[in-house]
Symmetry: C2
Subunit: 468 residues, 2 copies
Amino acid sequence: MFRSVPTPSRSVRPGTAGATHLADVVRDGRPETLRAWSARVPGGPDRAAQVAGLSPVEMRALVDLLDRPAAVDLLGSLAPYVAAELVEVVDPAVGAGLVAAVDPAQAAGVLRALAPEDRADVLAAAPVARAAAVRGLLAWPRGSVGARMHPDVVTVDPGQSVAEAVAGIREQRAAAHAAGEVYVTAPDPGGPAPVLLGALSYRDVALAPPDRAVGDVMRAEVAGVPPTADQEAAAEALRARRGTAVPVVDEGRLLGVVTAADVADIVAEEATEDAVRQGGALPLAVPYLRASPAVLWRRRIVWMLALFAAEMYTGTVLRAFEDELATVIALAFFVPLLIGTGGNAGTQVTTTLVRAMAVGQVRTRDVGRVLLKEVAAGTMTAATIAVAGLLLATVHGVGGEVAATVGVAAGVIVLWSTVLASVLPLLLRRLRVDPAVVSGPMITTLVDGTGLILYFTVARLLISALGA
Amino acid sequence: MFRSVPTPSRSVRPGTAGATHLADVVRDGRPETLRAWSARVPGGPDRAAQVAGLSPVEMRALVDLLDRPAAVDLLGSLAPYVAAELVEVVDPAVGAGLVAAVDPAQAAGVLRALAPEDRADVLAAAPVARAAAVRGLLAWPRGSVGARMHPDVVTVDPGQSVAEAVAGIREQRAAAHAAGEVYVTAPDPGGPAPVLLGALSYRDVALAPPDRAVGDVMRAEVAGVPPTADQEAAAEALRARRGTAVPVVDEGRLLGVVTAADVADIVAEEATEDAVRQGGALPLAVPYLRASPAVLWRRRIVWMLALFAAEMYTGTVLRAFEDELATVIALAFFVPLLIGTGGNAGTQVTTTLVRAMAVGQVRTRDVGRVLLKEVAAGTMTAATIAVAGLLLATVHGVGGEVAATVGVAAGVIVLWSTVLASVLPLLLRRLRVDPAVVSGPMITTLVDGTGLILYFTVARLLISALGA
């Protein structure tokens, strides 16, 4: 066995019972080395990354090293996309059999990552009931609670005594995700799923008097999330209640459960999507190393071209100020400095603010507080940068008028960029658009053109040779 | 009671039993309206944001509406910084008494957010043992596992029968975070904490035969995290094992526990810190709306000034190419377009890659795969942008030579920026520096100066009037 067999003693540490990295473990080839690795790296991103880092030949050797239950355990412990990589390189019949044996939620995740023709093979290799459960999960849209839930839940009847319930739970399949809660349901022979009546933590089950009825000790007030909701709703429900699991409920019927560990994954995934959006690209549907160059290009080129076209406006602005440039060529030297600094100031603001909105710290109604705070902070930054600009331009050896123009323009552009970067995300949220689309590149592009107008306007006011 | 009393029925929805927003609930002033709100918004970011959005007067009115146990429950359910805001506005004696009554982990969090003189008042108001526990937590550095853990754990003896253990658990204080696991410990009268021997989930407790010894049914292999570790270590341990709690263990002794809900919070906080770093600022130690303008300014101005000084280099480059600019003034029109696009391309790459590294999808050893992938994707993007640049410059009505220069330079700059943005994060990780410091603004600044050199080099090659 792979995940469930305890290692011989606590003394198993990197370097004692074998190599630290999986590639070396596979090369070593001894089952005990693999068991030691498996105890040391029981799952999570590190295990997934180590498996994903193997060559196809090494992946096949790894699966050959394992007996079937151990291979099923391995597959169940990997991020679905990494599990799919493993399935793709082994013998198709072996791979299909393994996927059919893992937890349905994991199987559905792996199937989503496989090519459609491979999906059919896997579903054909699974027992009929299991294949139906997995198909049911695949029907929910990506990113929904339904696509994320575990359909295997532990249920008890309200009329049972706690002792009878314990006996009943023992008979039910013990899945890892069953560690959270027990649900009290009434069967509904005509309906698609049983009706949810209440919930018990295992703590409640353990501590309740054995002869009490389940219906008397359960929590009747259970906050479930609908399967059609965004997966973030499940994360928020668990974090709000500090619980260990969230039931998935559709019109009072219990469809599945989302666990605490799933919630940690969801929070991380949503943060990844926002990080990519903030960089001015569309989020990837697959982990980075699984994305082909063509996929990366498609997710990036949309915004790149849009911003490129918008940025052409800067050329129009510069052309409009061609006379000023020709008269005082030194003005051109500071163009990248000024618009670059404006972009930086805006990017600082927008990344902080969009993230604060994503985690619920700032809402649309806070627009006044945000603006006051940002204008105050922006004024301080603008003043600092104005002084720095004046000093640096003077050191650069341009005349006093140009140096003054650079200093004043730097301050004005920083303040303008700060205001723009504060208002846009809040405005978009009010328009029900995800504020994460206000990316650093978007702010930078908006500030480039408008910043130039501010720069030359200041120049006209301060440089006598340009006197209007 | 506030959190634990069930609402009368499931039909409690926004609009039926009262107002949706807490400010309206406080204005309404009826306890049942508040109870309904409390059931609807049981905790998490939404509750914290609603409380944080109240004026000081409304906060005082809210606390006045609650009896003491309900006020303690409210304080325990808020993010520590919001709880601290509440404590600051109420009568100092009341506030100190409330903080002293909440869970020690929460109390420590609130104290960290209060001014030092207020801390002493709160600790003086707490019972001696509780004050000592809270002081112990405050001694761990911010961001460590120790600063995050709950010191109240449920423990049983290995020699007890399961039935005796159940009786013992009933007598122990039932904290919300006790829902995860039960720890098997041996007392160590001379030592700072009991020795950890094993763990049982409540599921194990519920299902084990009552007459079996605890030592026979426990898991002896328990993966704990040390209190000195970064809090991310606790999150990784829980996600890897798909568990509901992680014990905090120092030299074999059990100090506390980190729960699944804490782990979701940790994952969100770490993502927030990285998001702010990626925007070119230093992470805030407090939630956004708690940060004063002066704090925002300090966290932002460091990088702003560093990048401003670095960006001065662009002026030097432009001055070096002053003759080219004077000869072909049209070259100046495309400066913002080209360097802006280069910065955008680099920002897209670096945000995606840094996040993939943060979640463990990409490690230093993947540098080869990353570079191949990014050079391939970057070449496709460069070619697309080159064509777009050529077309747009032609439409702009500049000559064929300048249009060709703009197209070629756009492609070269995009490719250069892509390579820079791919290599830098991996290089920093290898040097054991957090790759999240490679921000969009840093890449933009690096590309601005170097991109100009590439642009004018291409211009010299392609424009006959500049023939070297």
